[in-house]
Amino acid sequence: MTATLAPTGLGAATVRGNRLQLRRRVTLVSGALVIGLVVMFGLSMAIGDFPISLGEVLASLTGRGEAATDFIVLELRLPRVLTGMVVGICFGLSGAIFQSMMRNPLASPDIIGITHGASASAVIAILMLGLSGFMVSLFAFVGALLAAILMYALSWRQGVAGYRLVLVGIGVAAVLTSVINYLMTRADVLDAQGALLWLTGSLNGATTAKMVPLLALVAVLVPLTLLAGVWLSGLQLGDDAAMSLGVRVERSRLLLILFGVGLASVATAAAGPIGFVAFVSGPIARRLTQGTGIALVPAGLVGALVVCVADFAGQHLLPVSLPVGVLTAAVGAPYLLYLLIVSNRIGSGG
């Protein structure tokens, strides 16, 4: 008589049933989020200083609209809305990855200095070199990558284990923050306020020219990230258990960090450090799906929705126009607080 390793019988049916239920819930939540995104897309494209009906929006998008509406739809609103959604997806995914890998709810790309690298470069570009627009984004992207490389190099010691990576990241972030602060106090107040706007995170500068490289990079990074996300559940069990399950711990950790950094860098370069999105998307997604695992796709979608709602609110719902970075916190923080109050099952992942 041989013992089979495959689960059979009633136990197996229960496990399969649970798994199916979880997957179904994740799909439901993702579907609802996508519907929310479509609604926000429509609202953002139609409402504005020149209200455009949905029919006209569709016409412009498919190339059959008039020149005037085409300009507003394709040059002004579409880049802004698409950039916002994509940036939200990137931040949401990046935040979820870092929080799972570090197993610490306080972990996020802004804690460990990547977005600070982007911010410091951007502030140098704006205040010391007088650049603007696409060049600032380029500087920001390079800065983020340099910070990440520095951080990884400094924490490498036969691998990157435990809190060393995070602590080195905090050190790097502190140095970069002091650079930013120094430049902000030395500059002319007008320039400094412009730099502050970039540092807050704003979609004001979204253009088609900037959007294309963003979409290209994201189209490569996101699928790769979702594929690598499979390793996350293994890594969450701890290094030893993961290794025994066949996960190549160092390699998968390196790749996941790479993707997390890449996503955060691209998003920060495009819209500035809209940090709170990365921090809050993971926990919100986890509570919506009520699973204990890392819900990557919902996290990305939550991020996109938060950014879209925040930008819409900042542009249209307030007496003054405020950038998206201010409102992501105004939108995300109360919701996170509400979830904290209502939820009784707070796991160690936060």
Binding site: A192, F276, L336, L340
Partner: protein, 352 residues
């Protein structure tokens, strides 16, 4: 027939490595105190106007208002030095206590929203009340810090299990983000406010006179005493909630007291010197490298190591950009971070 001789019971349970280790730790504390004293002297002698140490001694004990050197020392450098020691000690202690209460090595006193609350109220003060000097900001900043911490703690303690570390951290981060957003909104819309605020926002010891020091010193003393008494409580908390309860600790009171201590220390420090990050987060790690996880030792060490960093940063800030200065918060991070990173690379970090 054997009898158990009543040897000193502690010898049988030799947890800390014995009296030798304790002597070493005490020696270390004394050494740290000595370094702080030396740095105080240096801080009074070094600056845009170099003053010999003999004059410093004279100025303190035989003060002569007609002597410019003495004036500089007593009016400018003495408050600055005292503030450096007090603020440094406060931030180091607050950080250590915060990491103990939240059992999270990434925690720093700002996690309760203290810095962002202070900043928000300072912005209000500048915009609506027309406050324009450090002395007028102090109470606003302190009020904002206290309010933020109270809100965070209240929200985190809703629910069955009270203010668990995770809930504290998340509530604090959420509220910090909210307050920062409102602050930034004000700064973006009001240029005059921004122009004043961007200088307060970079923590500095300069420009604060003895009146400011006098206002916050009582709070810092109370907070310090309270924190140092919390060593044993934090040790118990670090064993985990269930074990702590089993040992008879009252979690609510313990956490509450610790939070009060952190708020007093960090609120007063930020009110006086502006937000100085980095110290509260990293000095406790360095202290733990020396002392291990026992809070009864790592709290005093945090209290003494932090002023060493802060005073050194202040002195260096005065020297590298003569005749101007670089604010202390900037230099602290610039010199503290590489040291911190070097330590993190070299040693195995003591767990909390």
């Amino acid at each position: 027939m054997t009898t158990l001789t009543a040897a000193r019971p502690e010898a049988a349970i030799d947890r800390t490595g014995g009296a030798g280790r304790r002597r070493a730790l005490i020696a270390g504390l004394v050494a740290a105190l000595g370094v702080v004293a030396i740095l105080c002297l240096l801080s009074m002698a070094v600056g845009a106007r170099p003053i010999p140490i003999a004059s410093v001694w004279e100025a303190l004990f035989h003060y002569d208002p007609a002597n410019t050197d003495h004036l500089v020392i007593v009016e400018l450098r003495l408050p600055r030095t005292i503030l450096g020691v007090l603020v440094g000690a406060a931030l180091g202690l607050a950080g250590a206590v915060m990491q103990g209460v939240t059992r999270n090595p990434l925690a720093d006193p700002g996690i309760l929203g203290v810095n962002s609350g202070a900043a928000l109220f300072v912005v209000f003060a500048i915009t609506f009340v027309g406050a324009d000097s450090i002395l007028s900001y102090v109470w606003f900043a302190f009020a904002g810090a206290a309010l933020a911490a109270v809100v965070v703690y209240s929200i985190a303690s809703l629910g069955r299990d009270g203010a668990t570390p995770v809930k504290l951290a998340l509530a604090g981060a959420a509220l910090t983000a909210l307050f920062s957003a409102v602050t930034t909104a004000f700064l973006l819309l009001n240029q005059a406010t921004f122009d004043q605020f961007r200088f307060w926002q970079v923590g500095a010891l300069a420009g604060r006179d003895l009146a400011v020091v006098g206002q916050i010193a009582p709070f810092l003393v109370i907070g310090t005493v309270l924190s140092l008494c919390l060593g044993r409580v934090l040790n118990t908390l670090s064993l985990g909630e269930d074990v702590a309860r089993g040992l008879g600790a009252n979690l609510k009171i313990s956490r509450g007291l610790a939070t009060v201590a952190v708020v007093i220390l960090c609120g007063a420090a930020t009110a006086a010197a502006g937000p100085i990050g980095f110290i509260g987060l990293t000095i406790p790690h360095i202290a733990r490298l020396i002392t291990g996880p026992d809070y009864r030792w790592s709290l005093p060490y945090s209290m003494l190591l932090a002023p060493i960093l802060l005073l050194s940063a202040d002195i260096i800030g005065r020297v590298i950009a003569r005749p101007g200065e670089v604010q202390v918060a900037i230099v602290t991070a610039a010199i503290g971070a590489p040291v911190f990173i070097a330590l993190v690379r070299r040693r195995k970090l003591a767990e909390l």
